[in-house]
């Protein structure tokens, strides 16, 4: 639920909805990529790879929106969206990562994001938006739901972190 789409034709509202959806994906893609880079730099390639994968999955989604909307080029991003939460519902908070994190943690993050995204679309679908928007929202909610399931499955396959996983016996180091 974001800024209410201004009273406009269904077509405009739809375009606005889709560009929001697209922005949401972009934010998520970027955040995952940033996490991947950070963990690469900190010698945690396993989780870095996982974030890269998550980023790629979101990219697919974004590409689909682009294709669907037949936007000639990337739409100019509107000034920062006033999401209900501080960022897009599918964007992981910047401080969710740790250099010693394990794949399970990454999936936990992804799960939360997908759940939030699902809820975001469900709310729109259940709300008073124009029909076309509601239909699209429903579709997307279903897709996010499938992601949720996928990740839940995935989580069963990776080990649960033992307590103390973030313990580093060595102190941080000094730089300039």
């Amino acid at each position: 639920m974001s800024k209410p789409a201004k009273k406009a034709s269904g077509e405009e509202a739809y375009a606005d909805f889709m560009s929001r959806a697209y922005t949401m994906e972009l934010e998520a893609i970027e955040r995952y990529a940033q996490f991947a880079d950070a963990l690469d730099t900190h010698n945690n390639p396993e989780v870095a790879g996982l974030f890269r994968k998550l980023s790629a999955i979101e990219s697919l989604h974004a590409k689909r929106i682009l294709a669907e909307m037949r936007w000639p080029s990337l739409p100019a991003l509107p000034a920062a969206y006033a999401w209900e939460s501080v960022e897009g519902p599918e964007t992981a908070p910047f401080d969710a990562v740790h250099y010693l994190m394990q794949p399970y943690h990454a999936l936990e993050i992804a799960l939360r994001c997908e759940q939030q995204a699902r809820k975001y679309y469900e709310d729109i679908a259940a709300g008073s938006a124009p029909k076309r928007v509601k239909a699209a929202a429903k579709e997307m909610a279903a897709e996010e739901a499938s992601h949720v399931a996928l990740i839940q499955d995935w989580m069963k396959k990776v080990p649960q972190p033992a307590p103390g996983w973030d313990e580093d016996p060595d102190p941080p180091r000094m730089n300039e």
């Binding site: 730099t41 900190h42 010698n43 945690n44 390639p45 250099y99 010693l100 313990e167 580093d168 016996p169 060595d170 102190p171 941080p172 180091r173 000094m174 730089n175 300039e176």
Partner: protein, 566 residues
């Protein structure tokens, strides 16, 4: 496995979280507990946390603060980016690599040295112990390869770990057992017992400062001087002094001057960039004759440079950085443990001569931790000459023969005065008269030039017509090179200067009498020490400069080769 090694160097590398530093420290403690000498240095990637790192531990039957030519063992918890440390971790065909197959093969840069690779399933072994860590397995392997006794290892783990001691010991023992299957580098007999410390150069300098009487410190954090301050802060509180964290280095040095003007011996510690900011106020210390000590823990320059690495390139600024003619003291410790005595001495000289003194330590000394013999301290102590009213008008800057004029300490009645950075007459009144300027310039120069440092000005070791001149942390590898040369019947003279300013030409002349070849060893690019020697001394015979900028330390072998070169 024959117990024929008098020194074994091992490195333990791995990513953040692997606990390589913790394990390295325990290895050092274990070596100490077993009665050996030891040294630990460290290196790490650019990340603040979670990056690659290596603990480098040398255990030996003799005291040394130098790194050896090569490492006998490089063990890695994982190999990620460990290749970046290749120049810091020289290996040879006699070396071995220890690693966990689960983390892949050792990087080529290590295997191509000819070092043999022995995989050890660190992770899997750690999994066998409830709460076990791979680093503890590696610790056990390394201890085993050197032949450290299990009790020593246990004692070290007991001392170091706050929790999980049992798991730690169990894991380390698994490692020890693994080592039994490997060709190791067993240490020779344990050296004779002596009183020892386990100490870093930064702690040593801090302790030296307190011994010298320092009771006020103001400072601003900077790598690699911060640990010196972090050691001093609680220590000062305990001995009735205090440390103020200043807003910047300009404030630090001026706070120290203010405290010292008040009669309390004062110090600040910093590194190159901070020293640059203190230059103006050091000049004030010279002119107003207010004692103060700056410990410069040198890092790789210029500018921000490489904050975590060592270099001896602040010699120029320490000697010549002040504007105007500003005679002052520059002292360099020439071993890690000498950081105590050198700093104590610098405080004493500053106090007794009422002048700023700079101590040139470096990142190598400052951040290395070593087992050292407790030094014998000189009984001689130095104090500030304090004035008391004798009914005469007080001349703060009286033109005495020694150049030192008794100083009135605030609170003393009848002899109040104003300390001044403006040129002044004997009373301290500002003067632009050439006569006053000359008289005060000569007074200030005199107190420094008349100083007789006795034997403390340098360490002079050995005989022969080849002399090696050096200072600071280059002395360690030089000493070892000399020991090797001597062991082969080739003696030479090692002159390691501790007093850099004022220069001691007469003493050096005597030290170099009869010398035909002079080697000048220093860790910087432009040859600052050589230039300094040339400007202050007549060097006899053929002079050769052995120099290289940081961060790589000199290794004994390369110095040895230069000494014995026909």
């Amino acid at each position: 496995m024959k117990a024929n090694h008098s020194s074994v160097s091992v490195a333990l590398a791995g990513s953040g979280g692997a606990g390589v530093m913790t394990a390295g420290n325990m290895l050092l403690e274990a070596a100490a507990a077993a009665g050996y000498y030891g040294l630990m240095t460290r290196t790490s990637g650019p990340q603040i946390r979670g990056g690659e790192a290596a603990a480098m531990v040398r255990v030996s039957t003799f005291a040394t603060d130098a790194q050896d030519d090569r490492f006998q063992v490089l063990a890695a918890i994982d190999w990620q980016n460990v290749n970046r440390f290749a120049t810091e971790l020289p290996l040879g065909p006699e070396s071995i690599l220890i690693g966990d197959q689960a983390h892949g093969e050792p990087p080529e840069v290590f295997t191509k040295t000819g070092a043999r690779y022995f995989p050890v399933p660190l992770k899997q072994l750690a999994g066998q112990v409830q709460g076990g860590w791979p680093n503890m397995i590696a610790l056990g392997v390394l201890a085993g390869l050197m032949g450290l006794p299990a009790q020593a290892l246990e004692a070290a783990i007991n001392k170091a770990m706050k929790k999980g001691v049992e798991a730690g010991i169990a894991a380390a023992k698994l490692g020890l057992a693994q080592a039994a299957n490997l060709d190791g580098f067993k240490l020779k007999e344990i050296p004779a017992k002596s009183s020892r410390w386990l100490i870093t150069g930064n702690e040593a300098a801090g302790y030296g400062a307190l011994r010298g009487g320092v009771r006020f410190v103001a400072a601003y954090p900077i790598t690699p001087a911060t640990e010196l301050l972090e050691w001093l802060s609680p220590a000062l509180t305990k001995v009735g002094g205090t440390l103020v964290q200043a807003e910047d280095e300009l404030a630090s040095i001026n706070m120290a001057l203010g405290a010292s003007y008040g009669g309390v011996p004062a110090l600040t510690a910093t590194s190159g960039p901070g020293l640059s900011l203190m230059i103006e106020a050091l000049g004030l210390g010279v002119t107003a004759e207010v004692p103060v000590v700056v410990v410069d823990v040198m890092r790789t320059g210029p500018s921000t440079g490489i904050a975590t690495k060592s270099e001896q390139a602040d010699l120029n600024i320490a000697l010549y950085g002040l504007h105007g003619d500003a005679p002052h003291i520059v002292i360099a410790p020439n071993s890690l443990s000498d950081c105590v005595a050198a700093t104590e001495w610098a405080v004493g000289l500053a106090e007794s001569l009422q002048v700023p003194a700079i101590v040139l330590s470096d990142q190598y000394f400052g951040q290395a931790r070593a087992v050292v013999d407790v030094p014998a301290f000189e009984k001689k102590s130095f104090h500030r000459a304090k004035a008391n009213s004798n009914g005469q008008p007080y001349k703060r800057y009286a033109l005495t023969d020694s150049g030192v004029s008794p100083m009135a300490i605030p609170g003393t009645p009848g002899i109040t005065y104003t300390a001044d950075g403006l040129e002044h007459n004997e009373r301290g009144t500002p003067s632009s008269q050439s006569g006053d300027h000359l008289a005060q310039m000569e007074k200030r120069a005199r107190k420094i030039s008349q100083l007789d440092p006795g034997d403390a000005w340098a360490s002079i070791e050995g005989e022969g017509d080849v002399a090696l001149l050096t200072f600071g942390s280059c002395t360690g590898p030089a000493r070892e090179a000399f020991a090797r040369a001597r062991a082969e019947g080739f003696d030479a003279r090692l002159v390691s200067l501790r007093m850099l300013a004022p220069a001691q030409p007469a003493k050096l002349k005597q030290a170099l009498a009869g010398v035909k070849r002079v080697l000048v060893l220093e860790q910087n690019h432009s040859g600052q020490f050589l230039r300094y020697l040339r400007s202050e001394y007549e060097l006899p015979g053929e002079v050769k400069s052995l120099r290289r900028p940081g961060p790589l330390p000199f290794r004994p072998e390369e110095i040895y080769r230069e000494i014995v070169r026909p």
